[in-house]
């Protein structure tokens, strides 16, 4: 059968980097093909070429046998290709219906915008995607999972028969993921070809007919799902066979650092009324406490409340070394030797204009002063330690932080906090968006820090991560603590049951 898309010898160079080198592979009509690769493997460059965002590349792309060269996204749409980006492109102030028809609004015979018709059609499209939302609601008020379906509805309304999805589940709850799988099945039943970009093996092996692996901009291979294994694919992605790391060695649990009793965080503008309700937990030195929960369960709010970064309207008791505390600013938490690595590195953690050294030294710059002024030598000496101990791979302390991979950026942020010599480390989904190899390194780092006597609270959107690292796991569901499981008791099954028990 003639391929619906054929990519032939496509190369793309950016100054100093080869993003894609002579990549060739094909997409058969109606198939679901997964593209796997670490961050920086060239997945997103390829996407941008297929969607007409990048226009100058070498090589050839054939759609339905005809060579094409898209110069803008509309060309790709016209050729029947739609892309669901990882970061969704929504005009948050406009309604779902207006977003679906953005740029090709339906009109009344008088030439005025026909909202009624658009809302009707949008409603039908969304209903067909198990997304029974009111199409008049502003897109910004929708949950991420619903926003994504609005984008898919838009693709459908464009009569797309090739859908490219870039890590579509990265921000979804388990229920939304299940719904997305059903939507994908339905689309495939209609004959839609799907290119599914992901590095989550369970998804890939569940959905894809064939798997294409990219590494360092090169095409490693395209293979049928049936004749390979997740482990083999992961090996191709990282170029080496990574053993499944387990951290089951006995850790030395120390004295109790943190004691939380009946923590309640009100949320007046929400019908539920609270973000956290009656949460109690203990954290000891030298242990990792995992916090599981679906998106919106209150994991981030819990950490922010401890760290003094959230609203200070909470009730209950937080005791640090037995003394009640209430932090009003992260500064106070720092002084009490608590550190927090925030979720969403780019938005809440990184300083893109500062170099690697300045990103690391930021919280402890006072230690690099000489005569009241920042000394370049002292700052370099200050950051050299954590750069070495966390294994940041950087060309030098004054390299641009934006040039590092996600994993190394995250190590820089952990380094920043280690310099404050914390006793409690709060990690909010620290491996999100980080590729497989770097994840294993971060696990080792977190385990080592814990063995050195830090008390760690770790949240994660991936259950295997918590099961790998944590000594105990507490489960939140809609702001309530629904289970506390020891390592022996915890299984994915039990955690999911508790996380969905509302």
């Amino acid at each position: 059968m003639e391929p619906i898309i054929a990519i032939r010898g496509v190369s793309k160079r950016f100054p100093g980097v080869v993003a894609l080198a002579d990549v060739s592979f094909e997409l058969a009509p109606g198939e679901c093909q997964a593209i796997c690769g670490e961050n920086g493997a060239g997945k997103s460059t390829l996407m941008k070429i297929l969607s007409g965002v990048i226009t100058d590349y070498e090589g050839e792309i054939l759609v339905r046998g005809r060579p094409v060269r898209f110069t803008r996204t509309r060309d790709a749409e016209r050729a029947g290709i739609a892309i669901i980006h990882q970061e969704l492109n929504m005009v948050e102030q406009l309604s779902a219906a207006a977003n679906i028809f953005l740029g090709r609004e339906l009109r009344t015979p008088l030439g005025l915008i026909d909202n009624a018709a658009m809302e009707r059609e949008a409603g039908e499209l969304l209903a067909g995607l198990e997304c029974p939302i009111d199409p008049r609601i502003p897109a910004g008020a929708l949950r991420v999972g619903d926003q994504q379906l609005v984008e898919i509805a838009k693709a459908l309304s464009l009569r797309t028969d090739i859908l490219i999805m870039d890590e579509p589940t990265s921000a979804l709850t388990e229920a939304e993921v299940a719904r997305l799988y059903r939507v994908i099945e339905r689309l495939r039943a209609r004959g839609t070809t799907i290119l599914y970009i992901s590095h989550k093996m369970d998804e890939v092996f569940r959905l894809a007919d064939r798997i294409t692996v990219l590494r360092d901009g090169r095409h490693v291979r395209t293979i049928d799902r049936g004749v390979t294994s997740p482990r083999e694919v992961t090996g191709w992605m990282v170029g080496r066979d990574i053993a499944g790391h387990e951290f089951h060695g006995q850790r030395q649990r120390g004295e109790r650092l943190l004691e939380i009793r009946g923590l309640t965080l009100p949320w007046p503008e929400h019908p539920r009324g609270y973000r956290l309700a009656d949460v109690s937990l203990d954290l000891h030195a030298g242990e990792i406490l995992g916090v599981a929960g679906l998106m919106g369960a209150g994991r981030t709010e819990l950490l922010e409340t401890i760290f003094g970064a959230g609203p200070t309207t909470w009730t209950g008791v937080i005791r640090l070394d037995g003394k009640p505390v209430r932090f009003h600013h992260p500064r106070e938490a720092c002084a009490a030797r608590i550190a927090m690595v925030t979720e969403d590195r780019k938005r809440l953690g990184l300083f893109p204009d500062l170099d690697v050294a300045a990103n690391i030294s930021l919280c402890s710059l006072a230690a690099a002063l000489r005569g009241g002024l920042v000394s370049r030598e002292r700052e370099e000496a200050l950051v050299a330690g954590p750069i070495r101990s966390t294994g940041v791979k950087t060309p030098g302390p004054h390299a641009a932080i934006t040039g590092l991979s996600g994993g190394n950026q995250q190590k820089c942020i952990i380094s920043r906090w280690l310099l404050t010599q914390p006793r409690i480390l709060l990690l909010d989904d620290p491996t999100r968006g980080i590729d497989v190899g770097a994840k294993a390194e971060l696990y080792q780092l977190i385990d080592r820090l814990c063995r050195e006597g830090l008390g760690v609270i770790l949240t994660s959107s991936e259950l295997p991560e918590l099961l790998t690292l944590a000594d105990r796991i507490i489960v939140l569901a809609e702001g309530r603590l629904t289970a506390e499981l020891s390592r022996g008791e915890a299984t994915e099954q039990r955690i999911m049951e508790a996380a969905t028990a509302v």
Binding site: F307, H329, L350, F351, V374
Partner: protein, 412 residues
């Protein structure tokens, strides 16, 4: 060219500053060479003083603007702060002068200290007000300082009218300042204002690149939420930034008052707010925040004043009239050039599609009209301004069309 954002380290100038320095040399040499009157040779001292004095005044305010911009904010109120500062200084001195002294000749050292101190204090008060509006009331910086831009000048006028009526029994919209100390300052204006400007530049450089506060300013401008979550008291950092911005404007206001021997709340310091922001931007500050250097801003201010001076010499027109156009063109050009590399790397085009086609005649018409008006005072072109303007317009039209044609060929 990428403007250098992080604290500049070492002595090697980054590319943006080097390019600015080169542009300054080119403009300077070019003006000296092309000026039909040879002003730079015949009246060097006078030209030098004009350029230095104007650069120092603009530069002092631009340093404040840079700090605010690097911290991720904007201060639109500098021009009004200049007026407010001069007026405050004059009014306080008036209270220390003899009751019938309408030229403020009889002000003693105490009165001068009180006047200058009061003016600087006004700067701190306004900076604090900005910070409160921005951090507590959560107004966007643009709105908060827009309010003071409009409000402060009017406030200064009202204050002037009120105090003169109370003190002298007759209202006045301006106050003569012939205090001996200020007359001395006027005579030594160039040396003093340049010295103050350079000292302030060194202090600002030290703060920005060698102190914890400076690092926090860059961090705040680069990513405010991350800065807060890193334990930085972002409100306090902003407090410093806005106070520094208003304080520099207040300082410049005192020099401007001395320079013109009059406190004129109605006219003093108009346009300084925008020109100082322009100098900072030409110097490489990014209005997104987190990016900018003191060296860049100093060079940016010098470059702006130099070009304004050059144009007024070459076409023999009043610098006032052309100033706005020059600043506008330079800001647009400087930022275009800093982004040119990225634009080209991304496969971007200068004149894409219908918009690009429409922009070509627009630019040509402006270029033609500008050259026509500019040639009016040039000896060689007397009486031939219209053909000259037409010729320049046509030339620009042809060149830009050729660029577009070339772009089309390259991308298809």
């Amino acid at each position: 060219m990428k403007p250098s954002g992080p604290p500049s380290r070492g002595w090697i100038l980054p590319r943006h500053e080097l390019a600015l320095l080169a542009a300054i040399v080119v403009v300077f040499v070019g003006t000296g060479w092309l000026d039909p009157n040879g002003t730079y040779f015949n009246a060097w001292a006078e030209s030098r003083d004009i350029i230095l004095r104007n650069t120092a005044l603009l530069g002092i305010i631009a340093l404040g603007a840079s700090v605010v911009i690097i911290s991720g904010g904007i201060d639109l109120s500098a021009g009004s702060m200049v007026a407010m500062s001069g007026t405050t200084c004059a009014l306080i001195m008036m209270l220390f002068a003899a009751p019938d002294d309408r030229r403020l000749v009889t002000v003693g050292p105490l009165g001068i200290a009180a006047g200058v101190g009061g003016a600087l204090l006004a700067g701190l008060l306004v900076g604090t007000l900005h910070t409160w509006l921005i951090t507590s009331i959560r107004l966007p910086p643009f709105v908060a300082t827009l309010a003071t831009l409009v409000g402060l000048r009017s406030f200064a006028r009202a204050m002037c009218v009120f105090v003169t009526r109370e003190r002298w029994g007759s209202e006045s919209q301006q106050i003569q300042v012939n205090t001996p100390a200020f007359v001395w300052l006027k005579e030594h204006n160039v040396v003093v204002s340049v010295a103050v400007f350079l000292t302030l530049a060194v202090v600002t450089w030290l703060i920005l690149s060698r102190t914890v506060l400076g690092r926090h300013l860059y961090a705040l401008g680069g990513n405010e939420q991350a800065a807060r979550l890193s334990g930085i008291r972002t409100e306090n950092v902003k407090w410093f930034a806005y106070c520094f911005g208003s304080l520099t404007a207040a300082l410049a206001g005192i020099f401007l008052m001395a320079d013109s021997s009059v406190a004129q709340p109605n006219a003093a310091g108009r346009n300084y707010e925008l020109n100082s922001i322009a100098a900072a931007v030409v110097g490489g500050c990014s209005l997104q925040g987190g990016v900018g250097t003191v060296t860049g801003t100093v060079l940016g201010a010098l470059f702006l004043r130099l070009v304004i001076d050059a144009v007024s010499k070459l076409i023999k027109a009043s610098a006032d009239i052309y100033e706005g156009m020059i600043v506008g063109i330079i800001v647009a050009l400087a930022v275009t050039l800093t982004q040119f590399g990225q634009l080209m790397n991304a496969g971007g085009r200068l004149f894409p599609g219908l918009r690009g086609l429409a922009a070509i005649p627009t630019i040509a018409v402006f270029a033609g009209l500008l050259s026509m008006m500019g040639s009016a005072n040039v000896e060689a072109l007397r009486g031939r301004t219209v053909p000259f303007g037409l010729a320049v317009g046509t030339l620009v039209l042809l060149v830009l069309s050729a660029v577009r044609w070339w772009e089309n060929r390259r991308t298809t």
